[in-house]
Assembly symmetry: C2
Homo-oligomer: 190 residues x 2
């Protein structure tokens, strides 16, 4: 079962094997730093977690894409707010996934060899965060807020999301993690 609020972040270069070091998330990890900052923004509040929220990282980099990493707010353990320790959970997940189709690598952290199409089919209705979007509010929960990493979604990804409302959060183009914080704030006050 998916949570009420889901954030799905597309990581175009994020490595899909644990062949990188925790000292090198930006380079060897394929900008995994962007994705783990998004997990922190999606799941953390002061001194605790948002138990009604899930974060989904879609890793699309070499050598074996796609891999989806699911952080379930309700059940996740051993999650800290810093980038390195969240990346360690992803890395540990990739180690345990090996040739399997899916694995629960640690409590509340599950990996699946599925891509965007299958993810969108499993999750609540999608909303795409888009600087050129025409909506400023979100539909009612449950929902899945889709963001891209530091690169724009590809044409193929946009086609998969064609029926999703496009919501804009402001006039400035911000970090993906900042967009998640603003989306939560808008949903919290709705």
């Amino acid at each position: 079962m998916a949570a009420d609020r889901n954030f799905l972040i597309i990581g175009h270069r994020a490595r899909t094997a644990p062949d990188w070091k925790l000292d090198d998330l930006c380079g060897g990890g394929g900008r995994l730093d962007v994705l783990v900052r998004c997990v922190t923004a999606a799941l953390w509040v002061s001194h605790g977690l948002r138990r009604d929220t899930d974060a989904w990282l879609l890793l699309l980099g070499p050598p074996a894409p796609p891999v989806a990493v699911h952080f379930a707010g309700k059940t996740v353990r051993y999650l800290n707010p810093d980038e390195r320790s969240t990346a360690a959970l992803v890395r540990n997940g990739l180690v345990k996934l090996r040739n399997r189709d899916s694995v629960e690598a640690s409590p509340g952290v599950t990996l699946h060899r599925i891509g965007l199409v299958e993810l969108l089919a499993r999750l609540p209705p999608a909303v795409l965060l888009d600087e050129a979007g025409d909506a400023t509010g979100f539909p009612a929960a449950p929902l899945t807020i889709v963001l891209s990493d530091d690169r724009d979604p590809t044409e193929a990804e946009r086609a998969e999301l064609e029926s999703a409302p496009r919501v804009r959060l402001g006039d400035r183009s911000l970090l993906s993690s900042a967009c998640i914080t603003l989306a939560h704030s808008r949903l919290d006050s709705a």
Copy 2:
């Protein structure tokens, strides 16, 4: 000269000597992870920096507090959005500071042996982010938005900030870095 927007984050336990490892920001660094996330939230937009904003980290942990680390948005170089590389700039600054009163450790990153009172005297008027605050809007720039790390401000710190307006950003208690994102958003749209 201070920037139009300043964020001052009080780090109650942040180490004031470079005797910790970049692999251990949370423990050995005295929750430096909290502070460097704040720098990213204060200075980064998508693919660039906010040149009108400065971030000031006040390190108050052992062995030689206080140390203020100034990141000047206008001139800073070698700043990346990830926690580890920002922490490396702080660490490098502490190495170069040694027994000096102040030093520009790298372009746009300057360290000073000054505490909260002197910082507040040098910077534009302060506003305290406070969940119990009664204001919801910010005064006009230039201004200095003051936040605490994961601990509340001490009584002495609150006394120094007694004349500062107290602004609340919402009903939920959020990470300091998330508060900075929300403050920027409110100022951007004002």
